[in-house]
């Protein structure tokens, strides 16, 4: 999916201590990092935060308004009092529980897609930038892939494979790879002109160690920024797939699935769409802010044009 792109002009990473000092001093990194930590903590600790089974169907308690209290009958036949802080859906499932568990899917998909697409794009980009005869072919393929709108490609791939967590992740990853590849390739092309590469070549370093030891570390800063933007985009795309009914199976609590279920009676009970929607927007906003903050701090020299060309 088209979205923000890291600037290829970022230099190599500095010493860890310096980076940490700069990161913690940046307002967007601090705020976004804090929000994301809370979100991750809440979704991981969901079982002990007053939730019930997010898949528990209870027709008696369907369509409850936020804040309503009711008796919940568990599968084993025990009845407990429970407050539906965010109401319930038309199957009587607790929205609060589903939203908390749904956060796990979103954060997992964001992190895994970012990691996978950067790893794949890095491998392809390094090879493309250094093995000249392959470059033309690889870049034509990447251009072609980029011509297919990302969400459409992801939708088509998922529909072919039948949706599961793995296929959804792979389907979202594939459209992201070309832009990482381009970024890495452009970095490699500028890095290979550097004197230290010439020096390494002069003392007879072979291509593979050269790439891993000298080129790769110098691509990290812009790639970390790019990975953050990819995570934001992946969280959005996953929720869109779920929302359209082509993502993870509808019984899996994801924010998109909760909204897809809630849209059917949106006129009467908008809360089913609002709670997961607001959390989704908040999460993506936090990840994007983190990306902006990382971009600004990993390179203090970077001119703050505030532009992230698509």
């Amino acid at each position: 999916m088209a979205g923000p792109l890291a600037d290829p002009g970022l230099p190599a990473l500095d010493a860890p201590a310096t980076i940490w000092r700069r990161l913690s001093g940046n307002l967007s990194v601090a705020v976004a990092g804090g929000v994301l930590t809370v979100l991750a903590g809440v979704s991981l600790l969901a079982p002990v935060l007053g939730t019930i089974d997010p898949g528990l169907l209870d027709p008696v308690n369907r369509d409850l308004l936020p804040g309503a209290s009711a008796e919940v009958l568990s599968l084993t036949g025990e009845s407990t009092a429970h407050t539906f802080w965010m109401g319930s859906d038309s199957y009587g499932r607790d929205i609060y529980s589903r939203v908390l568990y749904g956060g796990r899917v979103s954060l997992l998909v964001g992190a895994v897609v970012a990691t996978l697409s950067v790893a794949a794009g890095m491998a392809i980009g390094l090879v493309s930038g250094f093995v000249r005869w392959l470059d033309g072919l690889v870049m034509r393929v990447m251009d072609g892939l980029m011509a297919i709108p990302g969400i459409l490609l992801a939708i088509a791939l998922v529909s072919l494979w039948r949706a599961s967590l793995l296929t959804v992740i792979v389907a979202i990853t594939i459209p992201e790879i070309p832009r990482v590849t381009r970024l890495v390739r452009s970095l490699v092309l500028s890095i290979r002109e550097e004197p230290y590469i010439e020096a390494a070549l002069a003392v007879g370093t072979r291509t593979a160690p050269l790439l891993v030891r000298h080129v790769l570390p110098n691509t990290l800063a812009p790639l970390i920024v790019q990975a953050t933007y990819i995570a934001a985009s992946a969280i959005l795309v996953e929720s869109i797939l779920s929302f359209l009914g082509v993502g993870l199976p509808t019984d899996v609590p994801t924010w998109g699935n909760i909204m897809a279920e809630g849209r059917l009676q949106f006129n009467q009970y908008p809360h089913n769409v609002f709670f997961p929607g607001v959390l989704l927007a908040l999460t993506v906003l936090a990840v994007n802010l983190l990306g902006d903050g990382l971009r600004d701090t990993l390179d203090p020299k970077f001119n703050k044009r505030g532009v992230r060309p698509a």
Binding site: R140, G144, A147, A156, A232, I240, F243, N267, G277, P309
Partner: protein, 313 residues
């Protein structure tokens, strides 16, 4: 000049070939019998055999691609087993709502984002600038469908100003047509405004530091003329480029927006086809959107010659 135009047009050929190969391979590399997949879940074995024959599915992959691409070149995109009609006719039927939505969205987005971007660049660091940048980050983050439902809830359900969902053809009168398009276009344009406004701001800021702007001011031109005739005109190329690149975002957004607002366009068709596992239609829609995206960007590249008289190839 002619050589540039020709070279640029020829450069789109490999892109289109890769798109066609990807769309073709998507189905062939799927586990299972492609003929059965194309025929759909309710097909008889005769129908499956017929498809196997007509697409040459028992022959080498390259031959199959040849047959498929040949059909494509003749405008034969296959038969939708869900809608029981040729896919090309299906696309033609669904084209109007999507073009109407895309056109009003682009128009709205450009009319809002370019002036705002120019003003933000003019007063860098001012309240408008900071507000626009904050809006832009927010615009990149808020999912299209969440925004869509919030607008429906507020404008249609609470205030009752606009129809909730649906679409009216232009032939049914301009009033209802545009009333049904207002909310979808606003929804879809937010991310586009975010993108264009940022690039406009950056490009105009850069142009404002140029010597010709200082000269224009020194000779006493009015500030609006400096901004529009000198700064904005020189920032036109990055702005037009990002409008073109943003079409990819727009296409993704169209799929979602049409679902939220129940608009019977190509985006809705994509989702329906996926839900029905109607692969000929899925393939055709992806091809259609991708080719449209490539061609629009080709036109935009060619327009540089008009936009910037300094460009001589």
């Amino acid at each position: 000049m002619l050589r540039f135009l020709l070279r640029r047009i020829l450069a789109t050929v490999p892109v289109l070939v890769v798109v066609a190969v990807v769309v073709f391979l998507m189905l062939r590399l799927t586990p299972g019998d492609p003929a059965a997949v194309i025929a759909g879940d309710n097909a008889t074995s005769e129908q499956i055999e017929q498809i196997r024959d007509s697409l040459g599915l028992t022959r080498p992959l390259a031959v199959q691609f040849g047959i498929w691409a040949g059909n494509l070149a003749r405008g034969d995109l296959g038969e939708s087993f869900f809608f029981k009609m040729p896919v090309s006719a299906l696309i033609a039927q669904r084209l109007e709502p999507t073009i109407a939505l895309a056109f009003t969205t682009i128009l709205l987005a450009v009319l809002v984002s370019v002036p705002l971007g120019v003003l933000a660049a003019w007063r860098r660091g001012g309240w408008l600038d900071r507000g626009l940048m904050a809006f832009s980050t927010l615009g990149f983050s808020i999912p299209v469908f969440v925004l869509g439902y919030m607008l429906i809830w507020l404008v249609s359900l609470k205030l009752g100003w606009l129809p909730v969902q649906g679409y009216r053809r232009l032939a049914d009168g301009f009033g209802p047509f545009i009333r049904h398009l207002i909310l979808p276009s606003i929804t879809l344009s937010v991310i586009y405004v975010a993108l264009i406004a940022r690039v406009t701001r950056a490009a105009v800021s850069e142009a404002l530091t140029e010597d010709f702007v200082r000269t224009a001011r020194a000779k006493g031109l009015r500030e609006t003329r400096v901004l529009i005739r000198h700064a904005l005109a020189n920032a036109a190329i990055p702005i037009v480029t990002v409008i073109g690149i943003g079409i990819a975002l727009l296409i993704g957004g169209v799929v979602v927006t049409e679902s939220v607002y129940a608009i019977p366009g190509l985006g809705r068709l994509t989702v329906d086809a996926v839900l029905a596992r109607d692969f000929p239609t899925i393939q055709a829609v992806i091809l259609f959107f991708s080719v449209a995206y490539v061609l629009i960007n080709l036109l935009i590249d060619l327009s540089y010659v008009v936009l910037d008289p300094r460009i001589r190839y």
